[in-house]
Symmetry: C2
Subunit: 328 residues, 2 copies
Amino acid sequence: MMRNIFFRVLVILGFFIAVVQIACAQNDPLPSWNSGPAKQSIIAFVQRVTSEGSPDFVPAEQRIAVFDNDGTLWAEQPAPFQGLFAFDRVRAMASQHPEWKNAQPFKAVLENDMQTFAGTGLQGVMDLMLATHSGMTTEEFESIVKNWLITARHPKFNKPYTELVYQPMLELLTYLRANGFKTFIVSGGGIEFVRTFSEKSYGIPPEQVIGSSIKTQYELRDGKPVLVRKPEVIFIDDSAEKPVGINLFIGHRPIAAFGNSDGDFEMLEWVTTGAGPRFGLLIHHDDAVREFAYDRSSMGKPDRGFDEALKRGWTVVSMKNDWKTIFP
Amino acid sequence: MMRNIFFRVLVILGFFIAVVQIACAQNDPLPSWNSGPAKQSIIAFVQRVTSEGSPDFVPAEQRIAVFDNDGTLWAEQPAPFQGLFAFDRVRAMASQHPEWKNAQPFKAVLENDMQTFAGTGLQGVMDLMLATHSGMTTEEFESIVKNWLITARHPKFNKPYTELVYQPMLELLTYLRANGFKTFIVSGGGIEFVRTFSEKSYGIPPEQVIGSSIKTQYELRDGKPVLVRKPEVIFIDDSAEKPVGINLFIGHRPIAAFGNSDGDFEMLEWVTTGAGPRFGLLIHHDDAVREFAYDRSSMGKPDRGFDEALKRGWTVVSMKNDWKTIFP
């Protein structure tokens, strides 16, 4: 009898625990985030700006949130994925460019000599990007990128690059939008590159993507208008140019910004120094096992953002400790 | 008895006529548009692309409509209103610029000598615009424009410029949005000028305004970040640059375009030559009594768009015949 009661209590208890777990999972908008200060700070901010009647309430049309892409919404190692795309393009286009066998940075790429490539510096990167990203119509470029995203595989994870988006960030995007936020990408990457997958991967439509851009030219070909991509940079959407791009494309000062490196510093500074409630967040890549650890540095120098985060009230996310899962 | 029945029939008839009129007004999404081919073509297009299951159905995220501003959403005579703003700024700033008394185009503006001003040509216009639109932060510029829009009056109508928006076009914007369209402004005017009133006047938020733009620079002033407007043009959003701007800012090819002059020609061409159902519309300013008649010409030459409208399937709106009211 005693054992029977004990057993029944256990079953009932188990049932209640299961119900509570399911209820909690359903109520948790960020299930891939571990409990802790980072998750708390996000939820507290969203509750603050969406509580009608509160002095910190922000009307929906001003709930603009901006996200860096590389290293913030998807991975960026061993190199930003658009760079890996450019390498693949050089290989694919090499037969039409015999001169590349003897011209840097193409020679280094074709010989897979990354040290020599790195030595070509910023000019090498620009030459690589312009040669592989121009000379076709916008529609042709879109289909080249989409095809690459389907066929290319990441060297470490052996998965399509679009599977290397961060699950906790996908949940965060959904959570913000469910609370009336309009989510934008503000990427140092190419605007038309990111737009090929932003809607499918992040639920962010092309008109909410800002990025680096090259000139396009309106032309008639066989009487049909096309936009032709020209080898001329018009805007590098990085560092102090991120607030410039935000102002040009969005025309509001956002109230929340999410980044991971000093390329995002001014964006976070611009966003978090405005009047009213503001939110800034930096992702720290400290998980060498599940992703990569690149220890608070980009471009070889320590990231200022992490040093100043406490003083500036920015939330720092440890991928290792704050994220239950990294990829979907 | 007979009179009594006659009277009762009249009352009942009158009642039914009133009911039908109210029902029609409620069902008419464009009450300021007279019945005719222009109004019919708009409604037919919207019904076509929103009928689920029809081969011409367009999913909501692709229902992008682009509108020129000057002469399409609000008046543009005797000169584009932003030009009149620049003239007023020259007068307001003259005491800080004694050199303007002897330098064109400022001298002509200060002496109200429009013939001499016109003689300074495109360079004169550029010098005028840059001198009056740069040298302040983006926030300062916004408040200067907003103040001008409240205080300035149109020379012919003696009304604030924001009251010279076109009532039929406001109804059209509302009608399109009610049918899942996202409405954008693509203006040759300044992007930050138009954004100061686009949301209030047209229900179009800043992030859905594209326009000509000058460089801004991120700076810290007393430790606070600002964006400073510099006297350097980065983009003139007119003619063949309108499709370029649409591609850069929106990243979709819209399915409907609305304009009034050859500055909108390539935008209409780009939009209406895409695959699937497309809509192009040009407004003809032919109403000298209620607005202005400038007889199919801008910049002195005949507008090609009106000559080719029939061939290209574009709708031409006669303000005189198609619009019941011009202003709200």
